[in-house]
C-alpha cells in the first residue's frame, strides 16, 4: 500500500533523513521505533507532504506522492495525527472533528463518520460542544485520533500518541490502537514506548540517524539484540 523508497530529507542544510525505505501493507500495523532525532517524525511528515524529500520517492497505492502537497495527499487517504496532538484549542470538539473531514464533501458521509468516531470514543460525544483546549490530555489525544479517523483514511499515521500521557492513559491508548487494528485499519505507528509498540505491531522498523537499519516481526524485533541494547537498555 505505502512504499517509501530511499528518501532523503534536509532541514535547511542539515540532513535529517539519509535513506529511509520501508513499506506498509494493507491491514497492517507497522511500528517505527528509534532514538530521538533518528528521524521518525520527519519520515511521517515527509509522507504527508509537510516536508519535501530531496531524493527518493514515496508511493501510495501505486501513485507517486513524492513532494505533493498535504491537501492532495490527505485526499488520497493518508492522515497524520501529529505529535503533541495539535488540537484546535478555541474550536469545539465537534468542529475539530468536522475539520478532520475537510476532504469529504458528502454531508451524509460526514454524519456517518461522526457517528463512528463518537461510538469509538464515547467521551468525545459527551464533550462535543466543549472547546478543545478544555479537554484533558488524554481526551485531547482521543480527539486527535478521532479527527484523524474522520476522513476514513486508508492509512492512519500516529506520531507518539502516548507522549506526555500518564501511565494509565498510556494503557488505554494502546487499547484503543489495538481496537483500530481489529477494525482492519492500516496503521503506521511511531512510538517511544518501544515495548508496547512492538508487542502490538505486526511488523516494525528501526530507525537510526536517518536510516532504516532493521526490520522484522514486532515480537521478533523486541527480542533482537539491537532493540534490547539500544532502546531497552537491557
Amino acid at each position: 500500500m505505502l512504499k517509501v523508497n530511499q528518501i532523503k530529507v534536509h532541514y535547511g542544510r542539515i540532513p535529517a533523513l539519509h535513506e529511509v525505505s520501508f513499506e506498509v501493507k494493507e491491514g497492517e500495523l507497522v511500528a517505527m521505533v528509534g532514538a530521538n532525532g533518528a528521524g521518525k517524525s520527519t519520515t511521517l511528515k515527509a509522507i504527508v507532504g509537510a516536508l519535501r524529500p530531496v531524493s527518493g520517492n514515496i508511493e501510495f497505492n501505486g501513485i507517486d506522492i513524492t513532494g505533493k502537497n498535504s491537501a492532495k495527499i490527505v485526499r488520497l487517504g493518508i492522515t497524520y495525527v501529529p505529535e503533541a496532538r495539535h488540537i484546535f484549542g478555541p474550536l469545539t470538539v465537534e468542529e475539530n472533528l468536522l475539520l478532520g473531514a475537510f476532504t469529504l464533501d458528502s454531508k451524509h458521509d460526514i454524519e456517518e463518520r461522526l457517528d463512528h468516531v463518537y461510538q469509538l470514543f464515547p467521551k468525545l460525544n459527551e464533550r462535543r460542544t466543549q472547546k478543545g483546549e478544555t479537554l484533558s490530555g488524554g481526551e485531547q489525544q482521543m480527539l486527535a485520533i478521532g479527527r484523524g479517523l474522520m476522513s476514513n483514511p486508508k492509512l492512519l499515521m500516529l506520531d507518539e500518541p502516548s507522549l506526555g500521557l500518564m501511565p494509565k492513559l498510556v494503557t488505554e491508548m494502546f487499547k484503543a490502537i489495538s481496537l483500530l487494528k481489529e477494525e482492519g485499519r492500516t496503521i503506521l505507528l511511531v512510538e517511544q514506548n518501544v515495548r508496547e509498540a512492538l508487542e502490538l505491531a505486526d511488523r516494525g522498523y528501526i530507525l537510526q540517524t536517518g536510516r532504516t537499519i532493521s526490520s522484522g516481526q514486532g515480537t521478533e524485533l523486541l527480542e533482537s539484540e539491537i532493540v534490547k541494547k539500544a532502546f531497552l537498555g537491557l
Binding site: V48, G49, A50, N69, S70, A71, I73, V74, R75, T79, Y80, V81, P82, H86, I87, F88, G89, P90, L91, E95, L98, L99, G100, F102, T103, R147, S151
Partner: protein, 285 residues
C-alpha cells in the same frame, strides 16, 4: 440634545466605515500574524476604482462596488502570492517593512498613474443627497455606506463562523501545521484571508469615495486608524474590530467637537489605556 444625537449619528456612521476598513486587517492578522502597512493603500485602490467607473465610464459609482471588491480581492491574493508568502517566515521586523514597501509601491504607482491631484466623485444616485429625520440630518451616501458596511460585516462573520471554508480559515489561524494535516491547503487559506481583507477594505474605499476626496496619499491616515481599531478590539477578533470601529468613530467625532486639535490624541490614549489594562485588546484571543 439635538447636537448630541447628531454627533452620535455621525460617529456611528463614521465608525461603521472604520470598522469595515479594520475588518480585513484584523482577519489577516488573525490568520497569519502579520500587520499590513499597505492596508490603507488597498482602500485607496478601491476609491480609484469607484472614481474610474464614475469619471471614465460615466456609470453610477454604486456600480463600482462589486468591481472594487473584486479588484481588492485580486490585489490581496496577488500581494499574498508575490510578497507576503515569502516574508511570512521572516521575523516580525522583516514583515513590517515588507508590507511597508508594498504600501510605498501602491501609493506611488497610483501617483504615477493618476497624478497627485485630488479627485472626488461628482455624480451618483447617492452623491450629495441628504436625508432629514426630525432634526437629524444624514448624508444619504454615508447612511447607505454605513448600512452596506454592516451587511458586509455580517457576511464575513457568517462566512468565518458558519461555513466549512470559514472553519478551515479559523483552523489555519489557530494552527496552520495541523490544518495542513487535515488536508487544508493553508497557502490557499492565507491567500483567501488576504483576498477577503483586500475585498472588504477596497469596498470600504469605494463607499468612502462617495463622500470623501481621493488622492494617492490618503492611505496612511486610515491605516493608522485601522491599526488602532484592530489593536483596540483585539487582533483577529471580528466582533472586536466592529465595536472598536464604532468606538473610534464616536470618540473622533465627540472629541473633535470639543478639543478638535487633539482628537487623534484621544484615540491613541484610549487605545493605550485599553491595551495596558487588557494587553490583548478588548476581545483579543
Amino acid at each position: 440634545m439635538e447636537l448630541a444625537t447628531q454627533l452620535i449619528a455621525y460617529g456611528i456612521l463614521m465608525g461603521l466605515v472604520f470598522a469595515l476598513i479594520a475588518l480585513g486587517l484584523s482577519l489577516i492578522f488573525g490568520v497569519m500574524n502579520i500587520v499590513n502597512f499597505a492596508h490603507g493603500e488597498f482602500m485607496m485602490v478601491g476609491m480609484y476604482v469607484a472614481f474610474i467607473i464614475s469619471s471614465y465610464f460615466h456609470l453610477d459609482p454604486l456600480i463600482s462596488l462589486p468591481f472594487a471588491a473584486a479588484i481588492g480581492y485580486l490585489l490581496g491574493v496577488v500581494s499574498y502570492h508575490f510578497l507576503i508568502h515569502h516574508i511570512l517566515r521572516g521575523p516580525m521586523v522583516a514583515q513590517l517593512f515588507g508590507t511597508f514597501g508594498l504600501m510605498l509601491f501602491l501609493r506611488y504607482l497610483a501617483m504615477f498613474i493618476f497624478t497627485p491631484d485630488v479627485r472626488s466623485i461628482k455624480q451618483g444616485i447617492l452623491v450629495g443627497k441628504t436625508l432629514s429625520i426630525g432634526w437629524l440630518t444624514i448624508d444619504v451616501s454615508k447612511g447607505v455606506s454605513g448600512g452596506l458596511c454592516l451587511l458586509s460585516f455580517a457576511l464575513v462573520y457568517w462566512i468565518i463562523h458558519r461555513t466549512k471554508l470559514g472553519r478551515a480559515l479559523r483552523a489555519t489561524s489557530i494552527d496552520a501545521e495541523a490544518a495542513r494535516y487535515m488536508g487544508i491547503d493553508t497557502k490557499k487559506m492565507n491567500a483567501l484571508a488576504w483576498g477577503i481583507g483586500g475585498a472588504t477594505v477596497a469596498l470600504a474605499g469605494a463607499l468612502l469615495a462617495h463622500y470623501y476626496y481621493i488622492t494617492p496619499t490618503i492611505g496612511m491616515l486610515f491605516t493608522i486608524i485601522a491599526f488602532a481599531t484592530v489593536a483596540l478590539g483585539g487582533f483577529g477578533s471580528i466582533v472586536g474590530a466592529f465595536l472598536a470601529g464604532l468606538m473610534i468613530g464616536l470618540i473622533m467625532v465627540l472629541s473633535g467637537q470639543y478639543v478638535s486639535e487633539l482628537k487623534f490624541t484621544f484615540i491613541y490614549i484610549l487605545y493605550f489605556l485599553v491595551v495596558v489594562f487588557r494587553p490583548r485588546g478588548l476581545f483579543g484571543w
